[in-house]
């Protein structure tokens, strides 16, 4: 064996460490990552806010104009009322959520409470594939399959034989299939994976003891779901719906392909409408930076941003209440 004596280096307790020791490099790296993300978001918010108010600051429109129902940038006195777009986004989104929420929550309950493992192993990858399908594919399916079906097969072969639905479809105006309904149907499929996966997490987060306790009291599985799981996971499910709403309101391409983009106030579910996102994509290439028309598009972006910020705040409030309870 080697000599056992050890010589200690003479180190002063106040010795200066080398700079590499003083700076924690990994910490700096992760800090920079976080800081750059925050900086990007802040710059983006600032930029869109700045561009979004140009319509009022530079072009002299009053803030009230955005709640005006007439959109006519080509008129001698151009009108930039974006109410049709705001309402269009709202109704198409609400329609999509009305279709998608029961389906998604049911699917999440199935996955978390009912499904045997083999079924889970099919449904979960299927949902993940759903998420990965680009929106243009949904739009393309919408325009080639859904729209002709809504304008031809459904009203002529199916709807007219049904009591109330037949009345709706024989109304004047239901002709083209490009409609609020088509937009909501396409969107409902697109938000389904979002709502399903988030509510699935919420149901899984309910402690197992509560389930076993409930079943020990002699309840059926349905009673457990109805009286225990749904109330316990409600805030999580609400979060899922709000996230789905954000996704639906922000979707542009697929919706634009099937809703007809008619800038009028939404009157019937069978009529063409328009949304904030689809109008932005329609006009952005053909307008010039700095002209009032493009400033109005920026204002629409600002409205979209406000919608998404509001929903983020909403999610946080919902979750705070859940944690507080």
């Amino acid at each position: 064996m080697a000599q056992m004596t050890t010589t200690y280096e003479k180190v002063s307790l106040r010795a200066k460490r080398r700079w590499q020791d003083r700076i924690d490099i990994p910490q700096v790296v992760v800090f920079m990552a976080a800081a750059s993300m925050i900086a990007i978001v802040a710059l983006l918010l600032l930029f869109i806010f700045w561009q979004g108010i140009q319509l009022f600051v530079k072009d002299g429109q009053s803030i009230g104009t955005i709640f005006d129902s007439t959109w006519n940038p080509l008129a001698d006195t151009p009108e930039y009322g974006i109410l049709p777009f705001i309402l269009g986004t709202l109704v198409v989104t609400v329609g999509a959520l009305a279709i998608s929420t029961p389906l998604s929550v049911g699917l999440a309950l199935f996955l978390s409470e009912v499904a045997p493992n083999w079924a889970k192993s099919i449904v979960q990858p299927a949902l993940e594939i759903f998420v990965g399908i680009p929106s243009v594919v949904w739009g393309w399916l919408g325009i080639t399959v859904l729209v002709p079906w809504l304008s031809d097969t459904f009203p002529k072969k199916i709807a007219l034989t049904l009591p109330i639905v037949g009345q709706v479809f024989s109304m004047p105006g239901f002709l083209t299939g490009f409609s609020w309904l088509a937009g909501s149907l396409v969107l409902s499929i697109m938000v389904l994976p979002t709502i399903t996966s988030v509510s699935y997490d919420a149901f899984r987060a309910v402690p197992q003891e509560l389930r076993t306790g409930s079943l020990a009291l002699g309840t059926t599985r349905w009673q457990t779901i109805r009286h225990l799981l749904i109330p316990a996971a409600l805030s999580g499910v609400l979060t899922a719906v709000v996230l789905g709403m954000t996704r639906a309101a922000g979707e542009a391409l697929a919706v634009q392909m099937v809703i007809g983009n008619s800038p009028t106030l939404p009157a019937a579910i069978t009529q063409p409408v328009t949304t904030l996102t689809s109008q932005i994509t329609l006009d952005m290439g053909n307008t010039v930076f700095g002209e009032p028309w493009q400033d109005a598009l920026w204002t629409m972006s600002l409205v979209l941003l406000i919608i998404s910020v509001t929903s983020v705040v909403l999610v946080r409030v919902i979750n705070k209440r859940r944690l507080g309870a």
């Binding site: 729209v147 299939g177 996966s197 997490d201 007809g260």
Partner: protein, 316 residues
């Protein structure tokens, strides 16, 4: 959330696809990118150094970018491919984006050539428009098309068009067609096609809104919507109508009894037509000037323009 990362991945892929779809590059040789750095300012030097070029083609090596009108994009793309084939070392990247994008980007100096269906003065501030130089490289025509179920209608007069597009006539039987409601399919208000139709045919009349009006983004989307919608009518560029894949699905109409043909655009008897404008920021030089000369030369004017259903502007 379970699948946040996957979603972002999908977004990134979709974004990449979109970018890929909007931009295509005509490149003669793999070495073309190297040649970008060595762009020769003088056309004469370059001609001497590229003996492989056709005798009529003034070859300049380097790289330029165009953006703008989607109606003109097929022509510029084909011309760029032909130029790159004749001149190794020259790269012309052709982007769409719309007339407004083309004009604002060329005014800002971010592209070398901006393509537009409408005059710069109608889009840009006077100061910006004054800097741009217009090069009219072709005539382009648009045709009124309907879904094939609108039988018996082969011609619409200007007055009938006004009645239809302003919403006065709402059924095809008012203009000699079947008892079928009219569905109007517009381009966006900002589109060069819509502005041209509004000016030349409708005479600035107020277009219909609401109920039976749809708006579709591009010539391609309009074509799909017309073929899928009973009683639909719209306006598309000749190059899209004459595409064999579309022609059998559409019913093309005469305007005031004049056939929508390139010959009639050329002799000015067909009125729904306009100049195809390529704008440069100041006087063109180098590869930009050579490419614009090429666009006016016999290969483009005599062969490519008729093939893509545009009208030539230079005598052969």
């Amino acid at each position: 959330m379970l699948n946040g990362t996957r979603r972002f991945g999908a977004l990134a892929i979709a974004a990449a696809m979109v970018v890929g779809a909007c931009s295509s590059t005509a490149t003669a040789s793999p070495a073309a990118t190297d040649a970008m750095a060595a762009a020769t300012p003088s056309a004469a030097d370059a001609m001497a150094s590229t003996p492989a070029a056709a005798p009529t083609t003034n070859c300049v090596t380097g790289s330029i970018t165009t953006a703008g009108s989607t109606a003109l994009q097929p022509l510029i793309q084909d011309a760029a491919t032909a130029y790159a084939a004749a001149c190794p070392g020259a790269t012309v990247t052709v982007n769409g984006g719309g007339s407004g994008t083309g004009l604002s980007q060329v005014a800002a100096g971010s592209v070398n050539i901006g393509a537009s269906d409408v005059l710069a003065a109608s889009k840009l501030q006077a100061a910006d428009a004054a800097k741009l130089v217009d090069h009219v490289v072709c005539r382009q025509g648009w045709i009124v098309v309907t879904n094939p179920d609108v039988t018996g209608v082969t011609n619409l007069t200007t007055q009938q068009n006004i009645d239809i597009w302003t919403g006065k006539d709402t059924n095809w039987n008012q203009v000699g067609g079947p008892d079928l409601p009219i569905v109007l399919i517009f381009r966006p208000q900002s589109s060069g096609t819509r502005a041209t139709f509004l000016k030349l045919v409708l005479g600035g009349a107020k277009e219909a809104t609401g109920g039976q009006t749809l708006t579709e983004d591009s010539n391609g989307a309009v074509t799909t919507a017309v073929t899928k919608t009973n009683g639909a009518v719209s306006v598309i560029g000749f190059s899209y109508y004459n595409d064999p894949a579309n022609k059998s699905l559409l019913n093309g109409l005469q305007l005031d009894g004049v056939d929508a043909t390139i010959a009639n655009v050329g002799n000015s008897s067909y009125k729904l037509s306009a100049d195809g404008n390529l704008y440069t920021n100041g006087t063109a030089s180098g590869l930009t000037a050579a490419f614009l000369d090429f666009m006016m030369g016999s290969q483009v004017q005599g062969t490519i323009i008729p093939k893509d259903s545009y009208g030539p502007v230079a005598a052969q």
